[in-house]
Amino acid sequence: MSDLLRTNRGAETAPAVAPVPPRGTRAPTTRNGVDRGPRARLWPVHLVLIFGSLIMVGPFLWEVLTSIKTMAESTQVPPTLLPEVLQWQNYAEVFEQLPFGTMFVNTVLMTIGRTLGQLVFCSLAAYAFARLEFPGRNAIFVAFLAVLMVPPQLFLIPQYQIMAGLGWLNTLQALILPGMFSAFGTFLLRQFFLTLPREMEEAARLDGANPLQIFWHVALPLVRPGLLALTILTVLWSWNDLLWPLVVNTDPLRMPLSAGLASLNGQYDTPFPVLMAGSLMATAPIIVLFLVLQRHFIEGIALTGSKG
């Protein structure tokens, strides 16, 4: 109680948003000493960074180029840089080798299901841990944290047993369900709620609102940066997740793209240009999302110290 009535000390100075690491863009003021050097002197730095960029982006470019070559051309030595004739049918071929459309839908549904689940369940619990007093709160929170200490592979066998017991192997809910609950997401959002000033919640309380109403109308809108960060992390993790789908859904029609690609990759006779086309189509949505939201992506992932 007293804890609730006390005003947040830092509230006067801290803005109502959670801390975000500084942007990559530079402030115009002096920084880090070396106070000389017109722009012209920076070309060696650019040279190194561009060389590094080539190594980072090169494999993607090579993937694109290979995906539109014939198998024969792609295995030519010395290799051609640009394809002689564009082989767009490699992309169509992916749909013949895999139920790509179905896998795409599975991936989207898995991603949406897990993300919505985490946003709802984690934010509710995070608010309770940050703001409400109840017996056993800290003990329960510590139990949540224990989940974070454990490598996630440790959960796999019992999770699989549960799904098998329910008769849910090769179902959509098997892909989604365990990923809807996240100790990490709860912890992350709790940190955001803790930075909020309490005054507005106090005002709502005096107006007779119950904690759920305060959470929904007052607190939740203020932690949007946290919700966005959690969304990005969960989307990324779900989209790229391999091990769990591999374990529970062995039916190609129930697989997400990651497992589908892995199975195509495991077939000895899959032509490499087709594999490249499939990989590109499977990763394109995330890359586009990244390019659209790039600053949020980078900061969200950096801020949370986790790739999911």
């Binding site: 990559g24 295995t75 369940f121 790229n240």
Partner: protein, 318 residues
């Protein structure tokens, strides 16, 4: 996964409120407790079923032997005894440790890149950041497929480029001497952008007056780098080291998608989690697989604890 976060979590946990006094306050407190339990209920149930119970269950399974039809019997420490004598398991552990060590070599590279991006007046930082971050967000299976192609011994682009400078390559992923290193290079490629972003944020938080003072004392750029930048960046370096190691010790996707079951380099490249997956879901030897993953838990905890211990020696704290 987020061990470092837990430290802050423990520190941030609010002190328990003073006991309730008057009846009215007690009633309010009870009402608040009701809402508190209600709000944590969904996730508490979910975590209990899918995460907490499995921890206990896996520990139990690690003391059992699984029959061909799914039944299991208690065998005590048998799995662990077998694990110690198992050459494949020992190999997988050594491979994983070597892989993790190799991936750590990407951290100095990330520091150098972050330092370059932090050079005063440099343009295009946001652009570089995007390019270096691209491998971080890409599906590991897709990454593995592209690199399999690049590494191909007969017509891979890598060997073609190497031949241009007079080096004759090998079949990188099927040669037992190079397979693990080749996978680790991809591991570095995938983590460099992430570590760079964290380290860049760390660099930008170093107050400029340190450098100004050093400049007045006549310190050169190298002196500044090693006497100011490195010590003040050490908390960030520690953070990315802990995280990179925890993730590298769990490597699976890259190995799974780059090393086929018939690959002659498999024994020298398979990771602990790869072996776990094979035992648990291909060979259906779940008791033994549970022992493998328990051993991995111990390895990760020990390595992380050692790092936290050593931290006091080299990580600078205000």
């Amino acid at each position: 996964m987020a061990l470092t976060n837990q430290v802050t979590a423990a520190a941030a946990t609010a002190p328990p409120a003073a006991g309730a006094g008057t009846p009215r306050r007690r009633r309010l407190f009870a009402r608040e407790a009701f809402w508190g339990y209600l709000m944590i209920l969904p996730i508490a149930v979910g975590l209990a079923i899918f995460y907490l119970y499995p921890i206990v269950r896996t520990l139990y399974f690690s003391f059992t032997e699984w029959g061909a039809f799914g039944g299991y019997t208690w065998t005590g420490l048998e799995n662990y005894r077998a694990l110690i004598g198992d050459e494949a398991a020992r190999g997988a552990l050594l491979n994983t440790l070597l892989y993790s060590f190799l991936v750590l070599l990407g951290i100095p590279l990330s520091i150098a890149l972050a330092a370059l991006l932090n050079v005063k007046g440099l343009r295009g930082v946001a652009f570089y950041r995007i390019l270096y971050f691209l491998p971080v967000i890409t599906m590991p299976v897709a990454v593995a497929i592209v690199w399999r192609w690049i590494y191909n011994g007969d017509f891979g682009i890598l060997n073609f480029l190497l031949s241009k400078i007079g080096i004759s390559g090998t079949s990188w992923l099927t040669n037992p001497d190079t397979a693990l290193i080749s996978i680790a290079v991809v591991g570095i490629w995938m983590t460099i952008g992430y570590n760079m972003v964290i380290l860049l944020a760390g660099l930008q938080s170093i107050p400029p007056h340190y450098y100004e003072a050093a400049a007045i004392d006549g310190a050169g750029p190298f002196r500044k780098f090693f006497s100011i930048t490195v010590p003040l960046l050490s908390p960030s370096i520690f953070f990315v080291t802990v995280l990179t190691l925890i993730q590298a010790l769990q490597v699976f996707d890259l190995v799974f998608a780059m090393i086929m079951p018939t690959n002659p380099a498999l024994p020298r490249a398979q990771s602990v989690v790869y072996l776990f997956y094979q035992e648990a879901f291909v060979a259906n030897d779940r008791g033994y697989a549970a022992a493998i993953v328990m051993a991995l838990l111990v390895v990760i905890l020990v390595i992380t604890l050692v790092q936290f211990r050593l931290q006091k020696r080299w990580v600078h704290s205000e």
